[in-house]
Symmetry: C2
């Protein structure tokens, strides 16, 4: 079947070359007579897979040697607990920019004092706070880089000085060039911009490992993953293989610089159409608009249902907005082809002009 237009918020569209490599490796990995999911995680084949994947992520993001790249499981939701469990000794600053930030805060308060350094809640999470009330003595500052549900994104990250900056980058990692050295810890569930569901990538500055309490269970310690190169126990083999294939695709097309160019082009096309017609009401304030998740309501709910039905006829899927916001949402992650965005723009124009 020809490819559908996939606007799911995650798990989401993946690059075709990565999928093709996945199909081949699943059938028979490099002609060894076994599938990639049938080989030991201690085999030379998997050792090469995990090492290459790490090296490619390091190259793409320009990650310095004093940072570890870890492959963990349990998604961002598990990191919401592991981070305060590990680093929250007294007080941490959190910025609440949407549902995922709020969930991170909910887990953190179990472990210590949480200071709300900024919040977009009162404004309906339409924008990233302009200024923050940071605590100079915080154990760390936690931000959510991109807010899938509300369609907002930090355009510039706060300067937290000597206080470690921790960032949930699940929905926009690798979407644009960033300076990793501004962060102490970056984490991302893979299933939006890096690969399939089932693996969480953690990028962690080495000196933070000294803060890991010895008494934590082995699998909840970042030190375990750092010391054993994510191979203390069996890691999620296929998800890691696919993250490697997505990284390879990104390198092949020209790296993060090129994908950022494409992402800005795709997002601009879509916001331009939404801004042009009164029938569309973009949710995010222009200063805080996401390159990854474009959210909007329409003048009435019937029109939203009608538009969703018209989209389905053109094989466009995943456009229904999150239940907490309503309306529509187009997730246009790295792997979303510009053709899909053009097709959606065409529909939006036709729909607006006929209503």
């Amino acid at each position: 079947m020809a490819r559908a237009h996939n606007f799911y918020a995650g798990p989401a569209v993946l690059p075709e070359p990565a999928l093709q490599a996945g199909v081949e490796a699943l059938r028979d990995y490099k002609g060894i007579g076994m599938s990639v999911i049938e080989i030991s995680h201690r085999s030379k084949e998997f050792t090469e897979i995990i090492e290459t994947t790490e090296a490619d992520i390091r190259e793409l993001m320009n990650i310095p040697d004093n940072y570890h790249v870890l492959f963990m499981t349990g998604g961002a939701s598990t990191q919401f607990a592991l981070i305060p469990m590990t680093f929250l000794k007294r007080k941490a600053d959190y910025v609440d920019t949407g549902a995922w930030s709020a969930k991170a805060i909910k887990e953190a308060v179990r472990f210590g004092e949480v200071h709300l350094a900024g919040s977009g809640k009162e404004g309906g999470y339409t924008r990233i706070p302009d200024s923050l009330d940071l605590s100079p003595d915080a154990d760390y500052v936690h931000v959510t880089s991109n807010n899938t549900i509300y369609g907002t994104q930090w355009s510039e990250f706060p300067d937290t000085g000597d206080v470690p900056l921790v960032c949930d980058m699940s929905s926009d990692i690798l979407c644009r060039e960033i300076d990793v050295t501004k962060f102490a810890l970056i984490y991302a569930g893979a299933q939006k911009n890096m690969g399939p569901a089932g693996v969480t990538v953690v990028i962690l500055r080495d000196d933070l490992l000294q803060r890991v309490p010895a008494e934590l269970p082995t699998m909840f310690k970042y030190t375990t993953y750092a010391e054993k190169k994510s191979l203390f126990n069996t890691p999620p083999v296929f998800p890691i293989f696919m993250v490697g294939q997505v990284a390879k695709w990104l390198k092949d097309i020209g790296g993060v610089k090129e994908i950022e160019r494409r992402n800005r082009e795709k997002a601009a096309m879509l916001y331009d159409v939404l801004d042009r017609y009164d029938i569309y009401r973009p949710h995010a304030h222009p200063s805080s608009r996401s390159l990854m998740n474009v959210t909007w309501r329409m003048t009435d709910e019937k029109l939203e249902a009608e538009l969703l039905a018209a989209a389905a006829e053109r094989r466009m899927y995943g456009l229904k907005g999150h239940r907490s916001v309503g309306g529509l949402r187009a997730s246009i992650y790295n792997a979303c082809p510009v053709e899909s965005v053009k097709a959606l723009c065409d529909l939006l124009v036709e729909f607006a002009e006929s209503h």
Copy 2:
């Protein structure tokens, strides 16, 4: 490439029909124009996948309605911590039958008193203890059903009366008929007998949920997975899909009864050859031999290396014993075809008769 003979201890060989279904679903799931790893975990397609997978596991294992079937992550190693974190209030009984039991104990002692109800350590873990010293007031009893490294397996599980029996069944779940009602909690990393790496199946009796402490982080609570049907956050989509395909294959060939018959036949063939020639020294005591992992040493280490090389020439992989035991190990899980076991037996006979 023709299939190799795969004796890896895990991740391990999978059934060809399951792999074929994986290849097709990865390319395009049921003709929807998207891969199975590109669809939302809230989509109707994935809802059907996870529900069917659960239903098939329930049918295969004859799991009563008062048990939950949960799909978690982090492997058995994470369960080693979650179980005492959740259920160890005062004292728990553990039986040490090998390296994995020992790792479970190492995590448990962080949370309370561990009483060693039995141990095979002094005997080099060659057998499952004949009798146990169980505490009537224990919070639970923990056993490891099958010991991949030493090649031993419980043939009959202990009767723990009213004390909940918790079992790590990672390496032999679904290998034989068991009475689930004897257990309060069964857990298994999928990557040996159920599917690929990346998902942990937990079978939990409903009344145990009342013991889950409210203060635990959301992702560490069994209640979260039970209440949200393993969909609180994004689950490992592809590993779950593959577990479903392995379950379907098992149903198609005649269920657990038939696979048990095959497993007993395969194991008997192999032990029979090992017992026939003095050159082979099976590790496990005959009373405790595993149906899944057959371990042996040889009269000298040079012969072991020679046999491994001869096996590699015949495209037999994964036969090197675990570093802590040495020698050789043939893991002959459910999906290992009888043809592979026959090929190995042929080699063993030829090798013995020519040395």
